[in-house]
């Protein structure tokens, strides 16, 4: 391996242009998840962030004296200012989903997510951290290149050229960010004795506030708990290592999907699993996504034709 070869590999990995399909699909799903984030926040918005919130802004600034990005602290605490910030977040998330002023919308979403995090860091989980970081990396992508209002508007211009390829480096950052999640989950779990002994899922399944539906196989049985526990570790290990190997990628994505669906079924960590599943789409090869969408389109058109009454065009 020579230095020139390393530079070449680096260049290929980061600076090869990519098709925009997967990124556009991710943008839409991510935008919808941001809207859902806002919806879930709504019932307790004033309890968490209002002028008479459960934790006062003073207590939070005393505990975290560093200057941080927090729009809610940039104006006197009031319900109307909170509603403005919250409203701007919803509008930005909607614009991101539809791909209208996409980059600006994404930047606003990032600022708002960071604001909500800093204003009360005691109620947000790993899924929220991931959303914040994904929003940050998404700013640098051309996620509105297709399937967006931006693209529709650009088509009206005389010198319009469809974007078949976009810069790939920021898409790589999004992929790497997801790999970081699996890496950290694996390396922090692996020294734990319950993970080594195979009883971690047994304990997790007994947390009453976290449980949702019963496990498909009962983790009270020793071998079942061990299988769940070690299976989780194995999948998490694969998802920051083997996922980069082309031939193995879809097997890894399949395993990841199974893992997240199982966790989502059994445990109440709503957005984390959904964000992870949405981000997995960035690892799909664009040609395969196009083939899948075309297949879906054909199937859908067949269904529509069948439903139309005889004689109608």
């Amino acid at each position: 391996m020579t230095f020139a070869r390393i530079v070449q590999l680096w260049d290929e990995f980061w600076f090869t242009d990519v098709s925009p399909q997967c990124l556009a699909m991710f943008r839409i799903l991510f935008g919808l998840l941001l809207l859902q984030f806002a919806l879930f926040l709504l019932p307790d918005l004033f309890t968490w962030y209002g002028p008479r919130a459960i934790i006062s802004a003073n207590s939070i600034s005393e505990a975290n004296p560093t200057v941080v990005l927090d729009l809610l602290n940039m104006a006197p605490q009031s319900s109307s200012w909170l509603l403005c910030v919250y409203g701007a977040f919803i509008v930005a998330a909607g614009c991101l989903t539809l791909g209208f002023c996409t980059r600006l919308a994404c930047a606003i979403c990032f600022v708002m997510l960071t604001t909500f995090y800093h204003h009360n860091p005691y109620l947000l989980n790993s899924g929220d951290s991931l959303m914040r970081l994904l929003a940050f990396w998404l700013i640098f992508t051309d996620s509105g290149a297709i399937w967006s209002i931006d693209d529709k508007l650009a088509r009206k211009k005389p010198n319009y050229k469809p974007k078949e390829k976009i810069a790939g480096w920021a898409v790589r950052c999004l992929q790497l960010q997801l790999a970081v999640v699996y890496y950290h989950a694996f390396v922090t779990k692996s020294p734990g004795w319950v993970w080594a002994s195979g009883s971690a899922v047994y304990f997790a399944a007994r947390l009453e506030n976290l449980s949702r539906f019963p496990f498909p196989l009962d983790p009270n049985i020793d071998w079942v708990s061990s299988a769940w526990t070690w299976g989780t570790l194995f999948i998490e290990f694969c998802l920051f290592t083997l996922i980069w190997i082309k031939e193995l990628r879809y097997y890894m994505l399949g395993m990841a999907l199974c893992l997240h669906l199982c966790i989502d079924w059994t445990m109440n960590i709503p957005q984390f699993e959904w964000v992870m599943m949405a981000t997995l789409i960035l690892f799909v090869y664009p040609n395969d996504l196009t083939t899948f969408l075309n297949w879906l389109k054909t199937k859908y058109s067949i269904v529509v034709k069948k439903r139309l009454p005889t004689g109608s065009s």
Binding site: D11, W14, F40, L210
Partner: protein, 187 residues
């Protein structure tokens, strides 16, 4: 017009693009790596000069869910509110094991707030604010305001797998704060 046109001349950007982007990526992912390894003293020291930048943009992250081991206890919180006339009321904080699926999803932040943070003993400075919140929320009787709030944590240790599987959790109770409510707390 590209977004980079706002910052740098297009020709210059073409020349420097790969270098700038590479440095940006290495810098940020390097800091993310150091942040994830911040229990390591060397990593913490290397991160220190950039910590303010990192915090400002909310880049700190931690994905150690259930690591190094899941919490082995069920916790829930109650508060007692004593009113001016001496009557006492019990206030139950949100319990996600007692709500339907829709509320379970929308109230997940309460689980994070109560179980993971309030239940961890890491943030005792939160207790006073929560006591004030409970007092405000229960200030519903005319001319009879709350004068004291006590918050208690119930902890049920999950029996180890070697024990009989269906053992009921054994609960212990710990008072977290006894707070004397002042009139300004109720405003």
């Amino acid at each position: 017009m590209e977004w980079s046109d706002l910052l740098i001349d297009r020709e210059l950007w073409k020349k420097l693009r790969k270098v700038i982007i590479s440095l940006f990526v290495i810098f940020n992912f390097g800091l993310i790596y150091l942040c994830l390894e911040r229990n390591n003293l060397l990593a913490a020291r290397m991160l220190k000069p950039f910590w303010n930048y990192f915090l400002f943009f909310g880049f700190e992250q931690d994905y150690s869910v259930f690591a190094p081991s899941p919490i082995q206890a069920n916790v829930n919180f109650v508060a007692t509110i004593t009113y001016k006339d001496g009557i006492c009321k019990l206030y139950q904080f949100q319990r996600l094991d007692r709500v339907n699926l829709t509320n379970k999803v929308t109230q997940e932040r309460w689980r994070k707030f109560l179980d993971d943070n309030l239940g961890s003993d890491r943030y005792p400075f939160l207790y006073k604010d929560i006591a004030k919140f409970v007092a405000r929320k229960n200030n519903i009787l005319k001319d009879n305001p709350p004068i004291a709030v006590c918050i208690y944590r119930y902890t049920g240790i999950v029996p180890p797998p070697e024990a009989k599987k269906n053992n009921p959790n054994v609960y212990s109770i710990k008072p977290l704060i006894a707070y004397e409510v002042r009139p300004e707390d109720l405003k």
